[in-house]
């Protein structure tokens, strides 16, 4: 036994005598994880979170979350002797007078942007492959919760330096709070400690940003990961893969090396961005004062879609019985996002109601095989994208020689017209792809090689697919629509009434698929036939 092995043995024994760890360690060291690049998107988010914790802690050693007025005496000359809040001044200090300070600020902010982007692509992967189905519905809801909290956390984070751009963002947030009926002004005055901007808000959001939300994140992420661990990861369909097994690599050593390595890669790429790309140059924005504004003011991208919705809202406000309700703020700022996120959170249950499918699923769907779900996702994406584009309409206008008015009208009309269009187009594309799959299985792959038959006819040679490929393209289920039962044998009407009718309708639309080829059909055809 080498010295290494002896030391490891002693440590392991020490721990096991006190905790009985060997039992579950033995099981878990061999745990199998399927290996696909699309399963690493959540990891990007996870590692970004760790990077945020590390870089953020560094920043807290110098950041002063106070809004008291100070006169700047640091090394950045264009702001010499300018009055500003201590929060802004300390951020300047970190940027210019702490070695590595600007680097860490930039790493922190880039990591936040990657974090949110990774969450979104991870969400899209989980959605389009149906990984949210039983038994993973709760994990999906946790994920939506993490997405929502991430948006809030990022917003609070970039508002901490109290610069002109983020201060404007706070002003807009305050206007949304203030617009709430009945309680708006009260909540606003409580949150800001009085009139806007006050001196209380930044110290308060500091506590939320570095303590409360990270704590909630840690808890939610832990449960999110534990569920994945315990329920085992889903896998893509293919030969040898069933609903009852999981095929992949063991945790030790392969998965540890790859996943651990990926952490360093994500950190490295983030650090690279922090080194070569400037982000949030607050010294150019200047300190926040409500009397100033910059052209081209936008929030960070993950809130850009909200800004876009607010920009395109019709100017509707109602005044009745001495009270005002600002629909132009409430609808785009709260009601539509509320509907969107609630719908997202409840989607697993909505889909299982439509399909009537209450079984467990561990094999993922190929998106083309679930055209309705894929089309719905495309629709939601189109909606968000149009909102996002409108959020940057002034920057787009100046750079592409358009007018903000044109982009605004495009967005107002487009956001109603384009999503349903995206739905229809995506569904048709999915069905076409299903048809293409069917052709592949039955007739094989086109090789582009032409052969002239003795009779003078030209045919193209088709190469038969491998058994593995044929299986992959046909292993999926094509559920039938739920039949509408209006009355039973005794003539009693269905108690579910209209819900049953809706369910049958949706279910029928959902079951629209191109029939996949059966074993009998495949056997019928000879290989090599065109």
């Amino acid at each position: 036994m080498s010295a290494c092995e002896r030391i490891a043995g002693t440590v392991a024994n020490y721990v096991d005598e006190r905790t009985g760890a060997a039992a579950w360690m033995k099981k878990n060291l061999q745990k199998v994880f399927p290996d696909h690049w699309s399963f690493m998107l959540g990891e990007i988010a996870l590692y970004s979170f760790v990077i945020l914790l590390l870089s953020g802690t560094f920043l807290t050693f110098w950041f002063d979350p106070s809004m008291r007025t100070v006169v700047y005496e640091g090394s950045y000359q264009p702001l010499k002797e300018v009055e500003m809040s201590a929060a802004y001044a300390s951020t300047l200090h970190i940027s210019f007078d702490v070695r590595g300070g600007l680097l860490m600020r930039q790493i922190h902010h880039w990591a936040a942007l990657i974090f949110m982007a990774a969450i979104v692509v991870h969400l899209l992967r989980v959605f389009f492959t149906g990984a949210f189905r039983k038994p993973r519905e709760f994990n999906w809801i946790l994920g939506i919760g993490l997405l929502t909290l991430g948006i809030v956390e990022g917003f609070l984070g970039y508002s901490l330096p109290d610069d002109l751009l983020s201060g404007t963002g706070l002003r807009i947030a305050q206007a949304i709070i203030q617009a709430l009926p009945v309680v708006g002004t009260y909540i606003s005055f409580f949150a800001f400690g009085g009139a806007f901007p006050g001196e209380a808000f930044i110290p308060r959001i500091y506590t939320v940003h570095i303590l409360l939300l990270p704590g909630i994140f840690l808890a939610l992420i832990t449960v999110h990961l534990m569920l994945v661990w315990y329920q085992k990861h889903t896998q893509y369909p293919g030969p040898g893969r069933t609903e009852k097994n999981v095929v992949g690599y063991p945790l030790m050593p392969v998965y540890m090396a790859k996943a651990g390595g990926f952490f360093f890669i994500v950190f490295g790429v983030t650090a690279f961005l922090g080194a070569v790309a400037s982000i949030n140059p607050i010294w150019l924005y200047g300190p926040y004062t409500p009397g100033q504004i910059s052209a081209g003011s936008q929030p960070d991208w993950y809130m850009g879609w909200l800004d876009g919705l607010v920009r395109m809202a019709p100017p509707i406000e109602t005044h009745a019985f001495g009270h005002t309700i600002s629909w132009n703020i409430l609808i785009p700022g709260l009601i539509i996002p509320g509907i969107l996120f609630t719908g997202m959170a409840l989607y697993p249950f909505i889909e299982s109601w439509i399909t009537g499918d209450k079984r467990e699923h561990h094999l993922l769907d190929r998106p083309r095989n679930v055209p309705n779900r894929t089309a719905l996702g495309a629709m939601a994406l189109t909606f968000t994208l149009i909102a996002l584009i409108n959020g940057g309409n002034d920057i787009i206008a100046t750079h592409f020689d358009l007018t903000i008015n044109q982009i605004m009208w495009f967005s107002r009309i487009g956001i109603i017209v384009l999503p349903p269009l995206a739905f229809v187009i995506t569904k048709r594309i999915c069905l076409s792809l299903q048809r293409a799959d069917r052709e592949l299985v039955l007739h094989g792959k086109e090789t582009g090689r032409l052969v002239m038959l003795p009779s003078g006819e030209f045919i193209e040679i088709h190469e038969e697919l491998s058994e593995a490929k044929k299986y992959t393209l046909t292993q999926h289920e094509q559920p039938k629509a739920i039949e509408l039962v209006t009355e039973d044998a005794q003539g009693v009407l269905n108690p579910k009434g209209i819900r049953a009718k809706l369910q049958a309708r949706f279910s029928a639309a959902n079951a629209e698929n191109i029939a996949k080829p059966t074993a009998a059909e495949v056997k019928e055809l000879e290989s090599g036939h065109h």
Partner: protein, 264 residues
């Protein structure tokens, strides 16, 4: 002919043809829309600056601004705008306007310094107006205060020209242009004459001293290196978000594909 047939199916044939076609299109377009050639008129020793200016005016400006600079359907009156306006508009190449679009674009000046001065003198002779300035007169380096200039800039200019003077959108396709690479006298003249959509910043509202500070700040921002790395245009979160999606996520997903691919 043989050459063409021989290399017809060469793999570079299509890209090369594309390059040739696009270049031809580009050159034709540039030639067709080129501004008229500089008038190289020599002033006779006897004609005054004002007369020279009037001659140039009649030839190059009166078709829009009227024979007596009284204005018309497409162009405003120049009576009373002063030499400063002319020095700015002509000196930055905005006038003569290339096309009748939403606003005059800064471009290579058509008239040289002498001709510009002549035009300015002519317009100044029509009615009193702000006088043009020379760069040497704008003593921003000596008399301006950068920090004050920044405060003034953010209060009065950033709302149109963006926090770093990169320009911004106005309504209906108009825009506040970038302030980078503009001569100090042109900045000053713009502030006092309020060209096109820009309002006038009177000397009692922003004093001459304050104007010098603003110019000093603009110059400081212009020469300030990008302290955190590539600047991404200094327009804020839009380009930052674009970079993260295209480069950041793109790179990471690419690495994930490599990571899960089977080694040979």
């Amino acid at each position: 002919m043989k050459f063409i047939s021989k290399y017809r199916r060469h793999k570079f044939a299509t890209p090369l043809l594309l390059v040739i076609a696009l270049s031809a299109l580009g050159f034709t377009f540039s030639a067709a829309t080129a501004a008229p050639a500089s008038n190289s008129m020599s002033a006779s020793a006897k004609s005054t600056l004002v007369e020279e200016g009037q001659t140039i005016f009649l030839k190059g400006c009166s078709s829009c601004h009227g024979l007596n600079a009284e204005g018309g359907a497409v162009a405003p009156s120049l009576i009373g705008v002063g030499a400063a306006s002319v020095d700015f508009q002509v000196g930055t190449g905005r006038m003569p306007m290339q096309d009748m679009s939403q606003q005059a674009m800064r471009k290579k000046p058509v008239y040289n310094e002498e001709q510009t001065a002549a035009l300015a003198a002519y317009v100044a002779s029509l009615a009193p107006g702000p006088a043009s300035l020379k760069n040497e007169e704008i003593t921003w380096e000596r008399d301006g205060n950068t920090a004050d200039g920044g405060e003034l800039f953010r209060n009065n200019c950033a709302m149109c020209h963006n926090f770093a003077g990169q320009g911004g959108a106005l309504t209906q396709g108009k825009y506040a242009p970038t302030l980078m690479g503009v001569e100090p006298k042109h900045i000053y003249e713009a502030m006092i004459t309020g060209p096109q959509s820009m309002p006038v910043f009177s000397d009692k509202i922003i004093t001459p001293q304050e104007k010098l500070s603003i110019i000093k700040w603009i110059k400081a921002a212009e020469s300030e290196p990008n302290l955190g790395g590539a600047s991404l245009g200094r327009v804020g979160p839009v380009t930052e978000g674009l970079l993260i999606w295209v480069f950041g996520l793109g790179l990471l997903i690419g690495i994930a594909v490599w990571l899960t691919a089977k080694a040979r």
